[in-house]
Structure formats: C-alpha cells, structure tokens
C-alpha cells in the first residue's frame, strides 16, 4: 500500500491483531458464502449443466468468438488512428490564439463530449436513411465513435499541453516560431510521451465503445456473443465468456499503460490528471 493509508493506522497491537484475525475469518466466510450462493443460483436454475458450458471448449465456437474479438480490435484501432490525431488537432485548435480557430474547435469538443455515442449512432442508422442517404453499417459504428472519442481525447491533450511549462512556449515565440510551429516542434513532442499512459486508457474507452456494434449489427465481439448465445441456447454463459474476453484485453492494456507510466517515472505530474479514469464518453 502506498499513499496516506498506512500512516493513518496505528500499528495494531495484540488486541488489534486478534480483531483483524477474527475479521479476516468472518470476511472470508462471508465472501465464500456469497460465492456459494451465486454458484447455487446457477445450479438450481440448471445453468451449471455440462452442455451449457461445453460449447466453450470447442475450437470452432471459440474461434467464432475470437474472430469477433479481432473485429472489435480492428474497429478500436481504426477509431484510434482517426480519433487520436483528430483529438490532438482539436486540442491545439482550442488553444489557438485565433478566435476563428478556437471557437469552432471548442464548440465541436463540448458538443461531442456532451452527446452519447449511441444517440449519434441512431442519427446515422435511422436519421440519415429517413432523409434519403445511408451509410454502410461499419461506418455507422466508426464515425460516431470517432466523433465522441476525438472530443474526449482532445481534452486529454489539452490538459497535457496546459500542464507543460510556460517557458517552453515562451522560448519558442522568443526565437520567432509561429503558433502551429511551436505546437508541432516544441509542445507536441514533449507532451505525447507523458500522455502515452492516458492515451492507452483512451484506447480502452474506444474498445468499450466498439461494443456498440451490438446495436448496428456489426460482427464485433459482443454482437458475435449475441448470435452465439442464440445458437447454443446459453445466454448467460456466452455473455460471461464475452465479458471475460473484454476484461483480459483491457487488463493487458492497463498493464501496458502502467508499465509505460513506470518507465516515465520522472514525469509524475500527469499522475493526478487521470481525467480518463472517469467513465468513457459513451460507455461511460
């Protein structure tokens, strides 16, 4: 344990240790009881039956789910490739000294940070056809995620740029660089490295958003899970497996973010700015 927590406690004396020992046993029993209750609930309703779980040991079915995961990751990566540079440009635009750049960027960011991704998906899925145009399913998913994602990522970049020492931009203007030159040559290169962990967290948010493929019937992991649940008649088992797959991927990305953060231990000032720890724009 780090932080204030250990300082808050006295070192437990003999009586305290006894109490902790008793509490440990009681808590362990209570948690075990809860787990047993959950398992019983599965068993009573016949959801532990072998034929309900057995499909997930078969390669074709696992491969079907893994293909869904691959498509999820594809959507996520495509959205990241579009939304991250867009977010950077929006953030810099929002900080620009020129009002006709600053205002549109600010309006875009505030607008798309305030709208749920799913509402935008319905605009593409239902609104556009009603007005006589339509967009392929895949883009009905990607474009809304990119719109809200780039707005969220813009705020991450903006926080990073604002956290950079003023002396950097002042020195840049002293040697005669223009605004975009300053940003491109001086600010962005310094900001990207410390922001890397936060951008990885944003990748998790994009992956979470990609579950909206469930709505547009794009065969990413959650929608594949839905089809599979109907096929094998085991909804709760399928969705649990799907949830586990998402958890594994997100956990791996989190580990990577921590590793990157540790490697950059000398720039701790971004630690507290974990804006991204909040709920993601849409799933959030």
């Amino acid at each position: 344990m780090r932080g204030v927590e250990p300082v808050l406690f006295d070192r437990p004396g003999p009586r305290g240790r006894r109490r902790i020992a008793v509490a440990t046993v009681v808590a362990a029993l209570a948690l075990a009881g809860l787990a047993a209750l959950a398992v019983r609930q599965f068993a009573v309703n016949g959801q532990l039956a072998a034929d309900k779980w057995q499909p997930f040991t078969q390669w074709p079915i696992l491969r079907f789910l893994l293909m869904g995961l691959v498509y999820s990751l594809l959507v996520t990566l495509l959205c990241a490739v579009i939304a991250m540079p867009a977010g950077a440009v929006l953030a810099l635009g929002r900080l620009s000294p020129r009002a006709y750049v600053r205002w549109p960027a600010a309006v875009f960011v505030e607008l798309f940070r305030s709208l749920p991704t799913l509402l935008l998906i319905f605009v593409f899925l239902l609104g556009l056809p009603a007005m006589g145009t339509s967009v392929p399913t895949f883009w009905c998913l990607v474009v809304p995620i990119c719109l809200t994602g780039s707005a969220t990522i813009a705020e991450v970049f903006r926080a990073g740029v604002l956290a950079l020492e003023r002396g950097q931009t002042e020195a840049a203007s002293a040697i005669g660089l223009r605004y975009w030159q300053t940003m491109r040559l001086i600010v962005l290169p310094q900001v990207i490295r410390p922001l890397l962990p936060l951008l990885l967290v944003q990748l998790i948010n994009l992956l979470k958003d990609s579950t909206l493929g469930y709505v547009v019937t794009y065969a990413e992991l959650l929608y594949s899970g839905k089809s599979l649940a109907e096929f094998v008649h085991a909804p709760i088992q399928t969705y649990l497996v799907v949830a586990a797959l998402y958890m594994i991927v997100n956990w791996l990305i989190t580990r990577l973010a921590h590793r990157v953060e540790r490697r950059q231990g000398r720039v701790p000032r971004f630690r507290m700015r974990r804006v991204a720890g909040t709920v993601p724009a849409a799933a959030e």
């Binding site: 932080g3 204030v4 927590e5 300082v7 808050l8 006295d10 437990p12 509490a23 440990t24 808590a27 362990a28 948690l31 609930q41 309703n45 959801q47 505030e110 607008l111 940070r113 305030s114 709208l115 749920p116 991704t117 799913l118 509402l119 319905f122 605009v123 239902l126 609104g127 556009l128 009603a130 007005m131 998790i204 992956l207 979470k208 579950t211 909206l212 469930y214 709505v215 959650l222 649940a229 909804p235 709760i236 969705y239 649990l240 949830a243 998402y246 958890m247 997100n250 956990w251 989190t254 507290m272 974990r274 720890g277 909040t278 709920v279 993601p280 724009a281 849409a282 799933a283 959030e284």
Partner: protein, 213 residues
C-alpha cells in the same frame, strides 16, 4: 404525429433518464464507498475482494454488463424489470469508478497533513474526519462531476437493451417516421442541457470549496 405529442414522448423518456441517473448515481456512491472501505481495510479478504471488484468492473464495457444484467440474470432466477436491471448494472459499473475517485482523492492529500494529524494525537477516525476527508473532498468535486456526466451518457446504452429512456424514445419516434431533425435535435438539446448544466453546477461547487491560496 404532431409536435406536442412528439415532445411529450421525448420528455417522458427524459424523465426516465433522470430517474435512472439519480438512482444509479446514488447506488454507485454507496457501492463505491463500500468498496473503497474494503480496499483500505486491514482485513485481507476484504482488500482482495475490493481489488478484484474494481479490476473486474473497470475492465468490462458497460454495455456488456447491461446485457448481462438484462438478458443474463433471468436465467439464474433473478427476474428484474428492465429499469431495475439497468440501474443495477450502471450502479455496479460506476461504483468501481467512484471507488477509484475516492481513493485517488484521499491519496492526493499530502502525506505531511496526515503525519501532522497523527502527531497531534488524532485517532484514525479523527484524522480522517477532520484532516484528510475535508481536503480530499475539495479535489474530488471535479472528478465526481465527470463520473456524473459519465453516468448520464451511460444511461443512453439502456436503449440498446430495451429499457425506456431518452435515447430509446428518440429511436422509437424515428422508427415511427418522425422528422429526424426534430427528434435528434431535441434529444441532443436535452443531453447537452444536462451535461453542461451539471458541469456548471460542479464547477460552481468546486470554486466555492476550493482553497484560496
């Protein structure tokens, strides 16, 4: 369909959204506080449980959780209304985030403050109540505002699992052939009003309680 009927339907959905937000945000505060207490307790099983909870519920996408709550729970004999299921799902999901917000807020209090309180002879409860939490809450206002906005936007996912709320009402109206410009425009205005409005309120609170240095 006339404009009054359409606006009435949307407002009806909006009221459901507000109900879901209110219940699940309060639920998330309760769950998050409970888990945060578990995570700092000296009792190992509780600490492990808190850690596992946060890791699991932060890593799972909200929509997956909602699908599990709405379409999964009935299969193990827990039949809830769609409304109750989505409130449960959002509260569990946001609870993990509330827990981490609380923890990072407490961690943001300089160590010297705690050491000083302990040196003055404050007990655990006293130093937490008089020294740590008052300072932690001030820096937590903004993060809690973000969690709240996240919950508001998250409720739109209820439309994907068939629970009545604003996005769902918009979708139904559109399928019925209402003018998409009007429906989406109104829904967007309502969402923006809530998010910007709550952002403004949390910003006001933050400025009010901020330390004047």
């Amino acid at each position: 369909m006339g404009f009054p009927a359409l606006a009435g339907d949307l407002l009806h959905g909006f009221v459901s959204t507000v109900e879901i937000v209110a219940l699940s945000f309060v639920g998330a505060l309760l769950v998050g506080t409970l888990i945060a207490v578990c995570r700092i307790s000296p009792v190992l099983p509780l600490r492990a449980f808190g850690w596992l909870y946060v890791e699991a519920f932060r890593a799972v996408p909200l929509l997956v959780l909602l699908v599990l709550c709405v379409f999964g729970l009935p299969w193990i004999g827990l039949t809830l209304s769609p409304f109750a299921s989505v409130v449960l799902g959002i509260a569990l999901y946001a609870g993990a985030i509330v827990c981490e917000t609380l923890r990072s807020g407490v961690r943001g209090v300089p160590l010297g403050q705690v050491e000083a309180a302990r040196a003055l002879g404050f007990t655990f409860g006293q130093s937490l109540r008089h020294v740590v939490l008052p300072q932690a809450f001030r820096v937590m206002v903004q993060p809690f505002g973000n969690v709240f906005i996240g919950v508001v936007l998250g409720t739109s996912l209820c439309a994907a699992v068939g629970a009545q709320e604003l996005t769902y009402a918009t979708k139904v109206l559109d399928i019925q052939g209402a003018n998409p410009l009007v429906t989406f425009g109104l829904a967007a205005v309502l969402y923006i009003a809530v998010t910007l409005g709550s952002g403004y309120v949390f910003g006001r609170i933050e400025r009010r309680v901020r330390f004047q240095r």
